[in-house]
Symmetry: D2
Subunit: 357 residues, 4 copies
């Protein structure tokens, strides 16, 4: 299942160390003038080597478009694209051919498929998410033309969490630092923590929050295409994601209805709610308030420490920590969360048009 | 989008106070002898009026099968079924025709569809989940024939949380009390809390945990059909659900890779992992360990207190708390979580067969 | 695969002699006032016993709507409906339980599913098409509100074929006779032929032509959702259909490009083509000209003559011709062709809306 | 809609004169050793310039695989591939930018999408079918490993038709001549006819017949996924196809049930039918007999004669016949019919596995 979406659809292909990764975007509206630089800029936000707190692997991550764009504008036909793998010659993976690294997908891919490309994680590598960033960047541009703005940022790393209220977060500062937390002081602490973790040869998880501004009412397709279910599904397909919550989420589950209910009011600017514990979605349909949700990333499985494991034949082996790794994947995952959110919202925007008979 | 699944598919229809709700199950394997009593028993676990801590509405929730079963066994053709609505004559909803109840779907349905059945929430009512329970009960039976067992229970209500380790939970005791928490002492405390909340005319949320035993390796379809993404999607389509986490989830996101990684070992019983922070899924594919995940339910929006709101014309109105409601939906939601989990697992079991060329 | 369509979707269930047949229509636009009498009228056009040249089986074919319609208008939520089987008590089918009737689906269903409802053909019975007629009648009403008119008629039975040019066919006369051929003289000949065939205890096939007037340009989704491919697929799912051709079809394949090409011209009424060998579709997209296509029905397999066959154990048996049958299914198939065409066109109309960003 | 299939899925992209065309095959079973030369050989059967009776355009049509194959075997992950367009620099198409060629897709694409790549037909060019041949060649290899053999050949061109019985056709001779008709004498006549047509600057249509040997019973998914409906849909998505019939098809529609019914018999080799008017499919499911069907191709719209037409602004223009064209597309379409048939059969083979619980 390598196709995502209903009307605006991405089909993804490619292994970490194959010839190339790439994708096909089907169902993109026609006649839209694309900003190709913006697409590359989003890829650069995900790219290895962008700062000293992420992996130092070298990948240029240059996207080449093959179809679906003519004279700078979309034609409504499929947009095919590839990103070549600079790193595809990789003798240094042969020692992992038969080994099942802890909490990686080596074992499960072998169980399911029998035959796999083990180099750099193959298809299970997070390298695949670069494809999503391309499609998501296009979706973001289309949404932006309707004033729908998607902004994700690092909300927590390890035990460090930015706890200020939603409305006090300055989303314009997300890219003002290398960890992508829009609070200067917290960003410093997070960077320090990641450096510490790296020195330990370890990894650390965290939470990314995504906010969507100016989403119109009516997006979402009950009962199995509820908007937050589609968003949750999208986020949970991102490598290392283990949790999703919308609005007040798990914390709200501890409280009472009288405290959680969002009271409607009719303001000059239109119908609004006094609070937004619903996170902008009620009954699976957007209600015009800001959408916000949290995405939990586990610490990445690759660490620079020796670990026990087994090989293909069941023998006990030692997996050595070596190579280049991300001590914390959160900063690079911000554009991926953006991308998946943008694809869902554009897809549901287009689905909602199909009902307007 | 009222169809769920890829191979084993449920299409659901019906409003809370229409003639009937019902569904069509497509893709059910043929020749399987169904236990119809077990299906009704699962419906009874979801039924209103089953205990004094749930809504006292009267609904018999009797399922009638119309097709797809012949001489007691499935034929592989669609299984159509209906559940009549006993409550369909409902003058007492006319006062809500023009009113948008706080944190309900009244407003969003009106925005999306323009015209809606307002009685009892119409299509957005959780009554629709009875249909899922029927399909889920069938899926549970098929899975059980392969020894795959699904068990959900109430893990927390409000601030009360059952914190004992997974392996110490006695899943055979889930139905030993009316709140469906398999710990006698905690169940008592939870029941007390729900009674207190009801006296306050309020509602309270909580968390249901689901465990899947004996799931074979290989279920899950990367990259967009990862098993936990399918489970998360399924859970987030249930009314009042606002969060999902698998394995160590949000808590794991705070920790380090060296603590989170699950070390493989080759035991006499086969390949296993020393810990199970992954929750039985790695790279989106089941690894043979127990699958477990948490589902966060917000407190239900209907409370027995007066609340401010607006009507269809934007006028401020008072929504009166009256009628019969669930102070806490968790006990009745346990079979719904079971049902959605069962549908996902059976669907992915069948999908995985399609690859075995 | 009992769901049809992309946006406007029908899920169908039911066996010929089960409790009921029925369906769920998902994705119907909301706020549309339905004419329920027209739906029943379309069912009556398909109903057994409507004239002396069709089967004399008794079925009232009364549709009951269970959901999705409120105060006479669609709500955008699924429209569930059932049609009870009056004929479900059927001792007289026990002799066919183990027998494979020639050119029926008995053998293939047994091979695929192992266990089947043999009574009256079970799921493979054309009775299932009544469900399609309900959904198609709704689609026809929606299309008619946009001036898109679908008209099918019997073009040939056996060797008798109405050969007058498209523009000379008076579509208002389709229902002026029991055989549904809009030419008085040809209709008489066809009725005589069917009567003759019935006296012989035999059956006879034929061709239905469908015409679509006022279809806007732009419907069709290249490359795998070409409009005529969707129409062809739809028609080929109807029982007894063995062929489909659009525009000049098989005859056009014998001729030359210089004769087949449709020359564009700019008339006062808009862009048009001098001829319409394309049948209103070019490159898989409607071009605004009338759409027309032919559907070939084989003679139905049930005949009133003794035939040799085998039973489940491979023994040779004699299948006796007895009971009530259709000597020619064409007159009753006209509303089915209408229905499938209407579902496709409405679905593609809505899909096309989804692109209009 | 540029994705085809349910389990074995092809997503196609690319314009005739863009950078490249290509595709992604999702759901291919893993561990299968691919014969890459055979894939290229199938492409060569479709390639321009292969003989003097087809277009003399130059395209090398070399496929490059980017993913999904490791050490020569499929990995079960998506197989991405591209075919570069040698012809992409094309000044000579500027005269067609604003012109709507008769019976081409220029006008309909413009109506639907507003903005299009006009060069060489852009997305509507039959060049896109090269992508299908790659995926179909892979499907053919998988099917062949189960002894399922697909063979298409040219049955008629213009008024010339090979009328010998099915069992007398020597399928091994399909590629013994350049027109791909497995009868030496008829092939000569066809070649002469095509040469004549070319001299006239005209084009001519025809019919391809496809036969499938050794198809197991049980393939097909009633009621909307009937095997012949899926095949019909597949064929009708091929450029220039206007008709499809299975078994006795349109001719059978003229005859009687007593002549059409296929009588079952139990032979030493297993259950069989005395005739095969059903074309190997009954009730939408394969019955183990040979599957055969006909596909009607109109004469291609490009002819070397001047034609009247209009331009984008509605002005009358003259379209000049110039360049390189196929006077008859049938010989090159044979591998395309093979490819689509193979994709359908493999897909339904895998779907059928999913039911075997």
């Amino acid at each position: 299942m390598n196709t995502f979406g209903n009307i605006f659809k991405l089909t993804s292909f490619g292994e970490s160390h194959g010839v190339a990764i790439g994708g096909v975007i089907d169902g993109c509206p026609s006649g839209f003038e694309l900003d190709l630089d913006m697409i590359q800029a989003e890829l650069d936000r995900r790219r290895p080597g962008q700062s000293h707190i992420v992996t130092q692997r070298k990948e240029s991550d240059t996207v080449q478009f093959l179809s679906g764009i003519f004279e700078g504008k979309t034609t409504g036909t499929p947009i095919g694209f590839i990103i070549e793998n600079d790193n595809q010659k990789s003798k240094d993976y042969s020692h992992l051919k038969e080994v099942y690294r802890p909490s990686h997908a080596d074992y499960t891919y072998d169980q399911k498929y029998g035959h796999r490309d083990h180099r750099g994680g193959g298809r299970s590598s997070a390298r695949e998410t670069a494809v999503r960033v391309v499609a998501g960047a296009i979706a973001k541009q289309l949404l932006a033309s309707k004033d729908i703005i998607i902004s994700s940022y690092v909300r927590s790393i390890g035990h460090l969490e930015l706890k200020i209220p939603l409305e006090d977060i300055d989303l314009s500062k997300i890219d003002s630092n290398i960890v992508r937390c829009p609070d200067e002081q917290m960003a410093k602490e997070m960077i320090n923590l990641v450096e510490l973790v790296r020195k330990d040869g370890d990894s650390v998880g965290g939470v990314i929050q995504c906010q969507v501004k100016n989403c119109p009412t009516g997006l979402g397709e009950p009962v199995f295409g509820k908007l937050h279910a589609a968003l949750g599904h999208a986020m949970l397909t991102i490598n290392a994601v283990k949790g999703f919550e919308i609005g007040s989420g798990f914390a709200g589950a501890q409280s009472r209805g009288s405290a959680q209910n969002d009271i409607f009011e009719n303001l000059d600017a239109g119908i609004s709610t006094q609070t937004n514990n619903s996170g902008g979605v009620q009954g699976g349909i957007s209600n015009g308030q800001d959408i916000y949700f949290n995405v939990a990333f586990k610490p990445v499985a690759t660490i620079m420490q020796d670990q026990k494991s087994i090989d293909k034949d069941g023998n006990e082996v030692k997996v050595q920590g070596r190579g280049r790794h991300d001590p914390c994947v959160l900063p690079r995952a911000v554009p991926i969360v953006d991308a998946m959110a943008a694809m869902v919202l554009l897809d549901y925007y287009l689905l909602n048009r199909a009902h307007q008979f």
